[in-house]
Assembly symmetry: C2
Homo-oligomer: 408 residues x 2
């Protein structure tokens, strides 16, 4: 008997009709002879509304109390879904994260799962019930309610699948899988039948929003097959799985883009050993995450250092860069919000050359200037002007012929 | 250092402004040097709205899942109140019923508290925090969420006060205490400074809505002084306390009325031993609670049996009475929804005669017919026509001169 963990997001349980639809999907899987665990997020905009309510009291509420407050959102959905499944004649029971033994660290609003006790889940599954678990939440050793932060419900689902050694973790979304590129930009983008964890991790961190990288990491570490699929139709979506030999034939799996970064350049930095370490040390100490970095020494013996940060961190990063410039006698700090990053991802890059050249050619053909480049074993990213994003993504997608299914 | 438990109902925490008001009251008590535990209900109509949501799925939802669902209401209020108190600069922490060790039996939607572990409460109070606890909820031995049913938040407050041996349990309401009669009917009704548990129990079960009898029972059993007071002004309300000698000088403490009952009469019942036991056995077996009973044997050797039940139970009770009549050959079953019960309550009755006569005189003066009478050590109830209630309550109030403060 297969064990299947299903996850449904807030828009899939936004009202009683949608909850009934989720109930039918869960029951269908159960009736095919599987043991079923369903993880759900809060209904629709519940979490946002609760946060708004708290902010009517103060702009800076205690994270512990926010976790107490917003964890009610998922508790409402699980009860509603249990009631819906029961009303269709199937036994079901709902459990909060704490009740089902999801133990986390103490970092409120962004807790990490440290352990899952599977005994309640096993007992309920063995008694033939569909088990419904609140996503996004857990409990500390001290019995405090925590929430898991961004992508928390996906994380709950994959972590439960890992704990139960489930056969698959179905992530139901409003798209029917992972595409070679964003279909809103590239109309002939193709749905991928499967993709490796590493590729999915790169795509997720490069701006593809279909799966959060935290759940992919857990999937990779515990080898949980993750099935990204649509809750509107039950056709197969994309399987996120371990890399297998044949995947290497696929040089590039997808193109991603990200408009959420901004570029800062510190110009005329004295060329001294350790000067870059000083700048990025200051940024790191103040919690600013830096993505791409480029440094070039001019003939004058002065450096220009450019780097990108999340647009959310731009104000803080600029403050730090200004302090750094003052202390070191750098000439000038400038910034640019109108940039974007386009990337190609594929495990096949490891064994194929010329991927970078092909990407640069696609951009050059369209007169798109490359401001920065960053590479890993399985991805190449280029920083370009934000206005060129759509053209760039389409050009790269065409150049690699991603619309064609790969013969393997 | 005194320990004070405060309880605020749903209308007192209905919006952020009202929550701030509650925060100020709690902080005020803390700043007077006391240890403070605050019990709150769900905000405004939250519980009703959650129940409505569940009923959009099915008319008959599982009580376990309803408890999971509606217990979120109080969890929202406690977090909001903690945030409000903290925003005013005072340390506070919120706890759900399960977190604070309120152990109940397994009767979902109407659970009984079986034990309270006070260790979390003691720890938090000793660390100088205002402790906020979700009313109306607890946890079974199996870690299941339960709710306590009607009057549940009052019950939580008094039970916590008992566990902590608190100096007082303040029940904040929208009235400023317990009155000698409903002020909407008797404009010169007088606020009582204090009243005994037994009197309060009788008043509560006779229809006075200010306190639920379950919390008064716990207060009585553990000798917790209960202070019924207004959250709009901080003047002293009514203390519900153990009976003391002087209270006996007060013959009658208050007049109560109840329009929620209906009368059923089974006429022409054969006069056989055990026939009444049969009827009330059938009613009890089917969960119908009977209040007043009157039986008189006519000269024909046939009985007329009359009794009152809650209007909610009238349909079921009539069905049972009809079955009974068929089986025993009784002549006829009739019912009357237009009745009401007026009662006088007072511990002084134990040592004073003539109370019944004074009450009957008041009704007779106003040509009000008494249909049934029931008495206990400290109360006398008369069943009358519903249309006469207001006149009856005023007449009895006047006859006993309850508007006059008693000299003691």
């Amino acid at each position: 008997m297969a064990v299947i963990v299903q996850k449904f997001g807030g828009s899939s349980v936004a009202d009683p009709d949608k909850i009934r639809n989720v109930a039918r999907i869960a029951i269908g899987e159960k009736e095919r002879g599987n043991q079923v665990v369903v993880v759900v997020s809060a209904m629709g905009k519940t979490t946002d509304n609760l946060l708004k309510l708290a902010h009517e009291i103060t702009s800076d509420p205690d994270p512990r109390e926010i976790d107490m407050l917003i964890s009610t959102g998922e508790q409402i959905s699980i009860a509603m879904l249990a009631i819906a499944i029961q009303s269709m004649g199937h036994p079901a029971r709902s459990f909060t994260g704490p009740q089902v033994g999801i133990l986390t660290d103490n970092a409120h609003r962004k807790a990490k799962i440290v352990h899952i006790n599977d005994s309640v889940l096993r007992r309920e599954l063995n008694e033939g019930r569909i088990v419904i678990v609140a996503g996004f939440q857990g409990m500390t050793m001290d019995n405090e309610v925590t929430t898991l932060g961004r992508g928390g419900s996906d994380l709950t689902a994959v972590a439960l699948a890992a704990a139960l050694k489930a056969d698959v973790c179905d992530i139901y979304t409003d798209v029917d899988g992972v595409y070679t590129a964003d279909p809103r930009i590239v109309p002939n983008a193709r749905k991928l039948d499967r993709i490796s964890y590493d590729e999915m991790l790169e795509l997720a961190s490069l701006g593809a929003k279909v799966l959060h990288s935290r759940c992919v990491e857990v999937g990779k570490n515990f080898n949980v097959p993750i099935h990204v699929r649509s809750s509107f139709n039950l056709v197969p979506g994309t399987m996120v799985v371990q890399e297998v030999k044949e995947m290497e034939d696929i040089v590039v799996s997808g193109v991603a883009y990200n408009r959420a970064e901004a570029k800062i350049s510190v110009l005329g930095v004295p060329d001294r050993p350790g000067i870059a370490a000083k700048l990025f040390g200051m940024l790191g100490d103040r919690g600013v995450v830096v993505d791409m970095i480029i440094q070039n020494v001019g003939s004058s013996g002065l450096n220009d250092i450019s780097f990108t940060v999340s647009k959310d961190d731009l104000t803080e990063a600029l403050k730090i860069a200004d302090e750094f410039a003052k202390e070191t006698g750098a000439r000038e700090v400038i910034s640019d919000r109108n940039i974007a990053k386009v990337s190609v991802v594929g495990v096949g890059m490891k064994s194929h050359s010329n991927v970078a050249a092909t990407m640069f050619k696609a951009l050059a053909k369209n007169n798109i200037n490359i401001q920065m480049i960053s590479t890993s074993e399985i991805k190449i990213s280029c920083l370009i002007d934000e206005k060129d994003v759509d053209v760039a993504v389409r050009a790269i997608h065409d150049e690699f012929e991603l619309q064609e299914a790969v013969k393997s």
